[in-house]
């Protein structure tokens, strides 16, 4: 390949990368830009303004909705984490056939469409069992059903990595199965539990279908609210949602950065540790 062709190929590569990045990030950057203006619709710039952010954090309808969504996410993620972790531990220590059976059963809700989960939860709890949507039980149950299988999937690899004899060693040293689980097994799989919890929170925040079918009429999550609001006529609320999108985006970016820095540090510490251990062998 001659030099000219090479530069052309390089340029094509860069162009492709720029296009991909633009496709990924331009929409949200556009929204972020307009959230800091007084514009009522995208296209007309009316100068810098924080009005959208003031509306976002002072309108009680909006703050209640945001707070409610977060509480719902944390609460259902918490329950899902307990259930998913227990399921993974239980499956792991079961006989091989049982383990395989539980693991495949767990796959189904993961792959299944949310709309089916939401609709069927609604049918069972509300229509068949007559549980009122106002009790929040159908909503929480729906979100736990959504999240628990993912927690299971995120905890399982950690358990498999763990030396299975440390549980037996704990029993051998006089710990009851409960203590051995609490003091020995759980600390080993904490990273899996944490990432399972984080995943569960995100899933719950993201969900639209399950919430529409199971939520109380007076309650809205961010997703259901945004869908309704964009159909409505209240301009100030609509533009405040631009601000909300921007805030969510910034938080996500910060979290991702934080996680990456942490794992880089951990990797560095691990390397240093192994060097030190190498020294101890001499």
């Amino acid at each position: 390949m001659n030099k000219k062709n090479k530069t052309a190929a390089d340029a094509a590569r860069v162009l492709f990368l720029v296009l991909v990045l633009a496709f990924l990030y331009l929409p949200i950057l556009l929204l972020a830009f307009y959230s800091f203006t007084g514009s009522t619709h995208i296209g007309a710039v009316r100068g810098f303004s924080l009005q959208n952010y003031v509306t976002l954090f002072t309108t009680s309808e909006l703050t209640d909705m945001i707070l409610g969504t977060i509480l719902l996410a944390l609460g259902s993620a918490f329950i899902a984490t307990i259930l998913g972790t227990m399921g993974a531990i239980g499956a792991f220590y079961s006989r091989r056939g049982v383990n395989a059976f539980i693991t495949s059963l767990n796959q189904v809700p993961v792959v299944n469409a949310d709309v089916v989960t939401g609709f069927s939860t609604c049918i069972l709890l509300v229509v068949v069992l007559h549980i009122s949507k106002d009790s929040y039980i159908p909503l929480v149950a729906g979100h736990v059903t959504l999240c628990a299988p993912f927690v299971f999937l995120s905890v399982m690899p950690r358990i498999k990595q763990m030396d299975p004899s440390i549980y037996e060693a704990a029993l051998d040293l006089g710990a009851t199965p409960f203590i051995a689980l609490r003091d020995i097994v759980i600390p080993q799989i904490v990273p899996g539990i944490i990432s399972g919890f984080a995943l569960a929170v995100t899933l719950s925040l993201d969900d639209y279908f399950i919430a529409t079918y199971t939520k109380p009429a007076t309650f809205d999550t961010i997703s259901t609210y945004v869908v309704n609001a964009t159909k409505g006529a209240q301009t100030s609320i609509k533009t405040a949602l631009w601000a909300l999108s921007t805030v969510i985006f910034v938080i996500v970016v910060l979290i991702v950065l934080g996680m990456n820095i942490r794992s880089m540090r951990a990797e560095k510490a691990r390397l240093e540790n192994s060097v030190r251990r190498g020294g101890a062998n001499v």
């Binding site: 004899s165 037996e168 029993l171 203590i179 101890a280």
Partner: protein
Amino acid sequence: MENKDTIIELRSITKEFEDGFKAVDDFNLEVKRGEFVTFLGPSGCGKTTTLRMIAGLDVPTSGDILLNGKSLIGLPPYKRPINTVFQRYALFPHMNVYQNIAFGLRQKKVPKDVIDRKVTRVLDLVDLEGFEERGIHTLSGGQQQRIAIARALVNEPEILLLDEPLGALDLKMRKEMQLELKNMHDRLGITFIYVTHDQEEALTMSDKIVVMNEGKTQQIGTPEDIYNEPQNAFVADFIGESNIFNGVMTGHLRARFCGGEFACVDDYEEGTHITAVVRPEDVEITAPEKGTIVGTVDSVIFKGMHYEITVVSGRNEMVIQTVHNANVGDRVGMRVDPENIHVMLAEDHTNQFYADINKDFRLEFNGHHLDTSLTKIIRGSRRLEDGRIVDSSGETIEPSRIRILVSIQPDDIDMTDDQDKGLIQGTISNLIYKGDHYSYVIHTELEQDFVVNDEYLWNMDDRVSLMMPVDKMKFSLRRK
């Protein structure tokens, strides 16, 4: 009758897994207080399963385990005064050395100052003073090993179980730890039950060795007993190196094996089928005319302390360890002192012989073609287009590097007068009536004895030909 000295007793322990596999079969053992007992056997022989049943981590299908006369069955592991050193240490990675060692004492709610004292003392015992605050991952394999031992010992168990604790260490470290463990045992007076597949480790450390194979006890005895008086061919083969021959008693204190008649000290009735064991260091090389048997030197390997010489005599092979050199191709005589020949009753009468591999990868015996091929015998092997044979992992199989051992049962061999019909010819040298059939010993031209069961009566010294159907033969691969 309860013996005061017995600390633990296993009574016909059997462990059968759900898939029907019997890991341990009717295992019986008594261990005296303060003894160092080793379970020795190849992997999968059930030794670790037995240990786990003592620890309470596995539950026997049947049988009883008595500690100081009281049954342990139904008692969970955390209530047994027994601690284990696991194969790969099983230290708790999120705890430091102190927390690991203190774990057992904390479960028993021992006061903090007592725990501190005991941890310091046990760290001193394993030569790791001042390691309390160290993380597990900062320790070398040998140090982790010592912490694992300390963690078990600090609980002052009545019995310490050790499951191949030195398996992950390098050779030098292993030798050091063997001595240290033995010293620790002698100093502390705790009963040790040790599991290993390393016969040297077992012989070095133990007061008593339990040799196991396929879930069954093969022999229980002191290291000397096990080495010098193996009770069966498995033990003889597993412990040390041995020449093992099938043979027959030919008279009072006389046995024929390996193509010769030897004087021995074990007395069995004439005509009994026997297994004879001769240790390589007990064979003496003599001038051809002075030997009980004569053979040709096939290979000589210098091993540092001695030469390992393989002599082929007829169809038999004798491995000899000697400080004197010999040359490949020499005709030599061999003799063995009667007290160095260990004669045992043959367990079964399986006939075994080596088949030849011809250049076409076909098997031959005594010049006769066997209707099978290497690819059928070696599982997963196949023949490539260029004529080579490779095994399941793609490695070339070199016919000159392997031998095929053929086994066939006495019932599956037929005798005929038609000399050309069989694979090999010989004369009947012994016959015993066994109720519904006769058991014959046929002494062949290749100095090998075959045992054949037949319902018809033949006469002594009849010359017969042996017909052996290939589909009744079992083949196994041996490396040269």
